[in-house]
Symmetry: C2
Amino acid sequence: MYPPPIENLIKQFSKFPTVGPRTAARFVFYLLRAPEEEVKKIIEGISNLKKEVKLCSFCFKPYTGKGNLCEICYDTTRDRTKICVVEKEMDLEAIEKTKKYNGLYFILGGTIPLLKKEPKKIRINELIERIKDPVIFHLFNASIQEIIIATNPTPEGDATANYLEKKLKPFNVRITKLGRGLPIGGELEYADEETLSEALERRK
Amino acid sequence: MYPPPIENLIKQFSKFPTVGPRTAARFVFYLLRAPEEEVKKIIEGISNLKKEVKLCSFCFKPYTGKGNLCEICYDTTRDRTKICVVEKEMDLEAIEKTKKYNGLYFILGGTIPLLKKEPKKIRINELIERIKDPVIFHLFNASIQEIIIATNPTPEGDATANYLEKKLKPFNVRITKLGRGLPIGGELEYADEETLSEALERRK
């Protein structure tokens, strides 16, 4: 057992994604060794985060600036008939980088847990709300015609995609999913069986 | 690119041990999603750390409490003729848990980098200072007779151990290293070659 101020911070850091108690302890000892100035910067960084960054009231993308919509939702040149549903912020950025998508997004904030029956914490109700009545989000006068479910090709992501598909069926929208197959630049030799099977099935 | 307050904090978290920019980004988005109360606790935890925790002026172990020595260095029942040199705080705790060691410690704060010629940042000069003249640290009237180099059995740890051995040779102290061999409870079948070779060499 370490002194209480250390144990306490280990507990806090252990809640961070991918961080267990051992890694959390390493973080604390890093901070203990770090110069005062460095620690100050981290504290300021965390404080400013919540002060300066808002979550878009339509898609939940973090943004700075005026209004209650992010720059994507605010942009009138984007195709507001499409919503691409992603698990997290970094997935949105990855899709934006392709420059092949001009619609809107919706950040679920995670996946449904595989072992529990009911999805928790992720923004499924919020998504349905937006599909039901996008007009209440002011800038939207077009109705949504396509929902692209872009969860990750993992068991959790797939379960979430299936669950969403069921939940969104009653609404009159086209539901699509990202294509599966060989990653560009990859070699057949190293592709896992499932990817290769999907690639075979989706051949054209 | 994310908004500046996010990019800034990603940069800070990327300096944490084992954390790359992708994981750092996940931390930032975790904080953005976390309730205000939770973020406050983290900020307080980090602030309190530097306020409440001191580093022992002999061994650099973090401690709370009065004086300028940690509870181990302060404890007169401990054998002050021995110093066990470890890479980091968690290694010290691991050795303490065995209850088989009653001497003092010294936390190096890392290993020497494998690719550079001169060791940097780790407390080799401080260690030499303590061996040269332990009396200046007040409570020590015995001279140090044994240095146990307990760096990790990794390439970096071994390089550091060898470097330390050379550096400490001029002082009239016995230098020992931790025994190598099969970990208790492990099976031969799963032991890596090097461990098994060491185990064979050290058979008795």
